[in-house]
Amino acid sequence: MAGTGETSYLVATDVGGTCTDTVIFGTDGVIHIGKALSTPPDFATGVLNSIVSAAEPMGLTLEELLGRTHLFIHGSTVVDNAVLTRDGTPTGLLTTQGFEDTLHVTRGAYGRWSGLTEERIKNPVQTDRAPALAPRDAVVGIPERMDCDGAVVLPLDEAAVEQAVRFLVNEKQVGAIAVSFLWSFLNADHERRVRDIINRVAPGAYVTLSSDIAPNLGEYERTSTAVINAYAGQITNDYLTSLQGLLAEKGYDGATMVMQGYGGLLPAAEAADRAVGMIECGPAAGVIGAKFLGDLMGDPDVIAADMGGTTFKVGVIQDGKLEYAREPMVDRFHYLAPKIEVVSIGAGGGSIISVDPRTKVPHVGPRSAGARPGPICYGQGGEEPTLTDVMLLIGYMDPGQFLNGSITLDREKTERIFKEKIADPLGMSTQEAAIGIYRIASAQITDLIREITVERGLDPRDFVLHSFGGSCGMLAAAFGQELSVRRVIIPYTASVNCAFGLVSADVAHEYSVTQNLPATTSAAQINAIFAPMEERARAQLAAEGIEPDRMRMEWSVDLRYSRQVHEVTTEVAANTPLDDAGAARLVDDFEALYERKYGRGSAYREAGIEMTMFRLTARGLMPRPTLPAEEEGSADASAALIGNREIYVETKGGMAPGDIYDFNRLQPGNSLKGPAVIHTPITTIALPDRMTARMDRWRNIVVEFDAD
């Protein structure tokens, strides 16, 4: 641990699909940023490379930096990757006899169409389920049965369990076993006894109980969760162990905290046993980062949009709160674990533009040129026009300015191919066609975000839009305006937002109890459900070194109208433990929330209200690094004005002169008017006509729409 007086560091590294990003906060208030390519499946190499890339400009070796580091926070795609590449441990499943097909049948067609685009759903003949992670011949039904109250209907046949375990391990060669029985979330006794038997008969096998990993109603999703966790568990364990070993070798002796898909941190040892928790933790960190900035800037309602090379992701923060996904999936597998909702579509800078030869209608995506061969203009062999190429053709990218001039963009070739493949078939000039494609892309993103907000009963006009990722800045002001958001912000940390999100997260544990009770349940009875959870949570946090004054216990309850299916997670706003007024307020809050989400008149009160799940989020508050803020100076941005060229200007209906600015020369307080383009080292910000961009005191670019 660092000595007093010397700067000590918090290091956060996020492994993404393409890049591994690092953010380092020093106790001296300086932020350092690093980036390296991800190195699947040996992700640890990329992690060290990324840290080195941040340490080098600091004049530190890896060992020097890690020797002065007090906390390492990590997010990784290791679990997603194991599932996507089918690289996990061969897994077997023990389940209730008579229900052996539950995993493979996926509640009927659900598993066949889930995760597919509407285009593919409309052609059912060409759709299939993804093969399950536990093959059907590695599923064994066990005689046992609980009922809907968790009462034993048929006792566990232990001899059958032992025989099944031997069969799976010896004949099916599985290294992991998932156990999922009907109603185990109400009575886990049978599952626990099975674990004991496995530990005795096959001590080397990795075991996941559905009642541990997903103690919720719904056997298909619970079983699927247990199987995913068993399948990826060993890999996750091995990865986190080896990463910590490597860091220790380089002189790090502090704790490693691991990001979870619900946006909280867990100590590495705990994270290793809950592989499903790490799924999509990167995008979750991105939303956490956006929330941190929103809080800092006084904007509680944020739409966080991230557009990179292949995907466009959207997260919504409402009133400073995050939304959990209702039916999370990894690849095409359903699972039950709290996960921040991030909606993703295949639209990015690399999205390929095509013209339907039958109808002459242009399309953006869904195919992508990816990182390789990439857009035509990168000159790496790309032969199909992409959205990035369109950005070049409409003047938003500067052939000589891309990534600090490290690549010169090939405008001639881009123009030639775009004309041949897009403009000519459309019977338009290259310029007109490129402008048209830009309008289509912007409109489609507008449609997507509108749909996402409508689904939540929200109005985009109440929100601030944060733009992250290399491609988003060129479109954000345009679609932000069409959505009529309050303003658009391109954060200073936009390029490493997920790593930035890691440092703004807290330690958090999620607990839940599934129990069906009427809304008239007394406060005392509700308190009795939460008390044991709180006790467990406090012990857990204490074991992690969290002081009692930094513990926060957040209660919430899922409620619904008895004859309707929508459950709404409602936060307990009153002081806990509850008194009767607090319990009554919970029900009122649910009703208000329900109407806001599902529309006026959507509630059927006469049927009564019931509580279905009791959730506790136990937080251990982490020290928040402060973002260095500067004084805002003069509005005059002319020192950063580096040129003027023809760019697409919507209000002019075509190309028109626009000012070109260098982000690195802008100072806090500088303000500039569109039409203009701001080049930053990693992205380009297009500022349409009748908008004003200002650099704020944290060096974020804030775009406001001029009043009419």
Partner: protein, 606 residues
């Protein structure tokens, strides 16, 4: 029109339908809408022709168009901004009374420019049996409230007297209110979004794009038809109810860029409520046509233009008033779905280019079982057994059908978890799994259907009752293709507990025959599930594709290992011999050879 603006408007029309569907599900909150996806929302042009069909129960797309048109005719000169009309008369346009259409005109600057329409299967419609399917109804008069068109909302104001009258005729008026409210909200969203689209791009531009979209679909569909061979293909469906069998006969003729579906020769209308009206038949044939032939074409009026239907009046596919039709959606309409799927599959299979798009019939036989009674918490429970939405995929020319993989007319359905059912109803499942030998054999096997058994559990009244409209336990209905066998038929068995007072079974790993008691087939009417009795249901698998004796023996071995095919079928139908869990190749070759020679030892027909 500028292709860019066209592309943007087209995309937005899709999203408008999506948003309206979301609204419908949100406000309704009912299980059948949210889980079964038993709903539909679509947009229509000013003249009531289909502009943009969404993903839902597809046989409604054309019927709702007819609903719009009949409202236009009935209320001509009296259609105003903010009006919403209700229509559920099957002899006017609806499929059956419980699928209520709400149809709403969309005005822009005072002019009628488009329509939106949606339906949900309402909680109850006041028929002789609860839940909407009325196996005991002898005629349309006993199938509940029905209207050929009535103004429910006038200029944005609910007509309370009309609403009260409707609610006065149904069970659980609160739930029906919610259903109606959700449809109103859905139409309101569609109207608002269409209006803002027109404000942004101009009503003329939008209508121009709509016209072009329709013409484009027509051009694309005609071009596809011209690529397919000219010829005629036949199929036949048998529907059995209470021992009586009715036929649906179909001859589909494809000539140049036209397609004619001729149902001549189908049986006269039935005394049972499986009949359907002609609008329902039209919807029934389009439901598979859209996803099979027009999977990459926008589903609108343009697809309708090249198609003609002939359905003899007074037949089961074009019944005349007052024939009962409440079970139509899982009766004659589904048979029309199947018959059309079969002839379209044959035609696609006849084309080199489109062979991979052909499929044997999927899940041909819904079983509507509505459970009702007091549950373990003392409250009333009523609901459909959602396994009927689980379905089974038909085999394709290149792959097996998807096991319990859904159906073609409703692309996004799902069934409830066992725990969800057991939490709400006083029943316990003994098993729920894939049913062996249910998938039609073939070189590519039809997807298996499933089987389940229920017993009463902790029921305050000793059990529950159910309404079953279960036809199709006699005839297989999921036809195969190119020699493939049909999927096995449905089976509904009431197992009556032995008199000796044995306990309710707690498990039945051996399936139906492991449940002690006498087996009695049930199919039509209202039955109890009480005491120590059990209800067994098996639902049909998909049809197979090609000759089973050329199926890869390894695939047969793995089917047997997974319990999808019995050892007996592996030998008798597939000609595959297994020894110690492995394929015996010599024996298999011999077996297949002997099957072949046995085939030719028969006398040739005629």
């Amino acid at each position: 029109m500028d292709p860019m603006t066209f592309s943007i408007i087209r995309h937005r029309l899709f999203r408008i339908v999506d948003e309206a569907v979301i609204t419908l599900k949100h406000v309704s909150g009912s299980a059948i809408t949210n889980e079964g996806h038993d709903l539909m929302v679509s947009l229509y042009r000013a003249d009531g022709t289909l502009l943009m069909g969404g993903v839902g129960f597809l046989h409604h797309l054309t019927s709702a168009a007819e609903a719009c048109k009949s409202i236009i005719r009935r209320f001509e000169g009296d259609i105003h901004e903010g009006d919403i009309f209700l229509l559920n008369d099957p002899y006017t346009a609806a499929l059956h009374t419980s699928d209520i259409y709400l149809v709403s005109p969309i005005h822009h600057e005072g002019r009628l420019v488009a329509w939106s329409a949606c339906f949900v299967h309402v909680y109850d419609i006041g028929a002789v049996n609860p839940g909407g399917f009325a196996p005991q109804a002898p005629d349309i008069y006993t199938e509940g409230f029905s209207s050929p068109g009535i103004r429910l909302v006038a200029g944005g104001e609910m007509r309370q007297d009309v609403l009260d009258t409707i609610l006065n005729m149904v069970r659980s008026p609160e739930m029906v209110t919610l259903d109606l409210r959700s449809m109103i909200a859905c139409n309101n969203v569609a109207r608002d979004r269409m209006q803002s689209l027109m404000t942004k791009y101009g009503a003329k531009e939008v209508d121009g794009a709509c016209a072009e979209l329709v013409n484009q679909s027509e051009d694309l569909f005609r071009a596809r038809l011209r690529e397919l061979p000219d010829g005629q293909w036949q199929s036949r469906q048998y529907l059995d109810v209470n021992g009586e069998t009715a036929r649906v006969n179909l001859t589909m003729t494809k000539k140049d860029d036209r397609l004619i579906f001729d149902f001549s020769g189908s049986d006269p209308q039935s005394p049972y409520s499986i009949n359907c009206t002609k609008w329902a038949s039209l919807g029934g044939l389009f439901a598979p046509l859209f996803p099979l032939l027009c999977y990459d074409i926008t589903w609108n009026e343009g697809v309708l233009r090249p198609v003609e239907m002939i359905a003899p009046e007074g037949s089961i596919v074009n019944c005349t008033r007052p024939a009962p039709v409440s079970v139509a959606t899982v009766g004659a309409i589904q048979s029309v779905n199947n018959a059309a799927c079969s002839t379209i599959g044959k035609m696609l299979g006849a084309s080199e280019k489109y062979r991979n798009q052909s499929t044997a019939v999927w899940h041909a036989n819904h079983f509507a079982i509505f459970k009702f009674g007091r549950n373990q918490k003392g409250g009333d429970s009523i609901g459909i057994l959602t396994e009927t939405f689980a379905g089974a995929g038909g085999a394709r020319s290149f792959a097996d059908g998807v096991e319990i993989g859904g159906e073609i007319p409703n692309p996004i359905s799902r069934m409830a978890n066992v725990e969800t059912v057991e939490a709400a109803f006083p029943v316990r499942y003994l098993f729920r799994r894939r049913a062996p030998d249910s998938g039609g054999p073939g070189e590519y096997r039809g997807g298996t259907g499933g089987e389940l058994a229920l017993v009463p559990h902790k029921a305050p009244d000793g059990g529950i009752n159910y309404v079953i409209s279960g036809k199709g336990s006699r005839h297989p209905m999921s036809e195969g293709l190119a020699g493939g066998y049909p999927g096995a038929p449905n089976s509904y068995v009431w197992v009556k507990a032995p008199e000796d007072g044995a306990n309710t079974p707690v498990t039945a790993a051996g399936g139906l025959d492991a449940i002690s008691g006498t087996q009695e087939r049930v199919s039509w009417g209202v039955y109890p599930l009480m005491g120590r009795d059990a209800l067994y249901v098996r639902w049909n698998g998909g049809g197979g594709h090609g000759d089973p004796i050329v199926r890869d023996p390894e695939a047969v071995r793995s089917d047997v290992a997974a319990g999808l095919v019995t050892l007996q079928s592996a030998g008798d139908i597939y000609g595959v011999a297994l020894r110690d869990g492995a394929v015996d190749e010599t024996e298999t070759m011999a077996k297949r050879k002997s099957i072949r020679s046995a085939r030719l030892q028969q006398e040739a027909s005629e």
